[in-house]
Symmetry: C2
Subunit: 341 residues, 2 copies
Amino acid sequence: MLDQRRLPGEVVYHNYTDYRDVAKAIKDMVIRGAPAIGVAASMGIAIGVEKSHAKTLDELRAEFTFICDTLAQTRPTAMDLFWAIDRFKRRFDELASAAAISGGGLPGIANIKAGLVQEAQKVHQERRQADERLGRFGAGLLPKSGRVMTQCNAGALATGGIGTALGVIRMAVDAGHKVEVLVPETRPYLQGARLTAWELHQDGIPLTLITDNMVGHFLKTGGVGAVVVGADRIARNGDTANKIGTYGMAVLARENNVPFYVAAPISTLDLSIPSGDHIPIEERSAGEVTHLAGIRISPDVPAAHPAFDVTPARFIAAIITERGLARAPFEDSLQKLKDQG
Amino acid sequence: MLDQRRLPGEVVYHNYTDYRDVAKAIKDMVIRGAPAIGVAASMGIAIGVEKSHAKTLDELRAEFTFICDTLAQTRPTAMDLFWAIDRFKRRFDELASAAAISGGGLPGIANIKAGLVQEAQKVHQERRQADERLGRFGAGLLPKSGRVMTQCNAGALATGGIGTALGVIRMAVDAGHKVEVLVPETRPYLQGARLTAWELHQDGIPLTLITDNMVGHFLKTGGVGAVVVGADRIARNGDTANKIGTYGMAVLARENNVPFYVAAPISTLDLSIPSGDHIPIEERSAGEVTHLAGIRISPDVPAAHPAFDVTPARFIAAIITERGLARAPFEDSLQKLKDQG
């Protein structure tokens, strides 16, 4: 796993062989971005089950359940995490049924382990393909030339593919659009300054880094043709949880008649909840606000750190998925896309 | 001069005896905040003239003009800087006329020097009184209890008195309001995290520090009863330049039905310009965005650093001055307050 906390200064990879280390890496943000968390959790489950010493199906199932529960407790907002766990639970049941039919025992357990490792590889592979399709669907929404704004990092580092929001931008550039990307730094973790700036710089896509409080000024005066952001969870009505600051960006985009797009895979949809009011918002450590790069930047005062906010669907021009675009009313359009699976 | 770049970690005072050092201190943000810049420039002019070796009135006038021009080139947006220079030019003319009548020469020059030193002390004294009056006019606009949001630092450090926006908050607390202040950190200089948090913490006024991209989330969900900010320049129609991020805060306050107040002395009014389109916006070094506390936080990419933005008057519920409140239409109400002087 590429340690995203140390980019762009250092490129450090960690090799995890214990699912608990994978869970800790997700919680500590070695890896982040809802789709990438989904891939990492899939890998974590596969690693955990593969190393099991269980001798019976029941033992294995108990261990599998414990592994899933451990991973589920890492990041509460990211839908793809729960999507991945649900997918693995269904796959485990299928494999376990097949193993039981063929007599269970150690050969059956070996088959389940191999099946879950394959499933994790499949999740990663599907993610790459989904990003490319999503990027192609979204590219046409961006201006032929001019500025585009994004938020946080919804790039390769956040998905394992070419990214969602940055996938759209990459596909637009591929198709000949001459865009410059305005990148807000995204405090407290600086995913914009550290990760999005790094990805775009490596790809040779022009960018300008700004602080988060410049978003309104540039939407008003900076010639921005579109905003495209990722998502951590999308409710049935289209309300979208994403990195803190996204809601403000959406309101300011609307105020300045700039279309605001959300780019996210189907695995980020949570059609079980009617609206964004039901999305749990992760509260992280206040120390991440009062410190930067280990340096205290404020007196010893209380600080708040909601990691996400909710953008009401009415601010969203379209949700871009790997199965096409959803537009208002989102209850209908999102359900239709989901049902295509 | 208290070095605001080093707060809250270190409390360091600089003693300036050369007006060029005062100009550099203003440019480098040892001192900042439009009203405080006005006081500092007044002191700088007085120091410069006091140390002059001019032997004739004409020589002194030439030196005085050069000193004023040097100070005028430090920060283009802060109206109080130009207000102070204009005031000193008028005062110089008065003193020079009197000196000419009484025969000029070295005694006349000594009188001018003494007169300008007194004028600088008077500016500082008036500033303190203005802040208190302004604070009293504004206090009643804040909720009796609950949260208030501010931006950047419009406190004692920004004025030399009790502050404008923070003066309003201090006077409200004095009057028994139970308020907690939400303080956005205000990148890139972190005036919120470093200065406003420090001032409020020292006064025992409850606060919560947030990052700039949390402003929307807290205006939507955080029970904020009012926003009160300072100003760097206010145009005839009420359009207000203030620290970058203020415009976004105003739009998000309107979206969430939170009243948005600007607190500023009469010296911040620029009734010579019809609207905010005519306010020069200072562009500072991109290195202040790509670095924090001397540490590079991004790859070597372009960055933008407009230091201010303009909030259209339609988002402003009232402008709080030391002569009372101005409300829309601001052309009338601001002119009336100005004419009281």
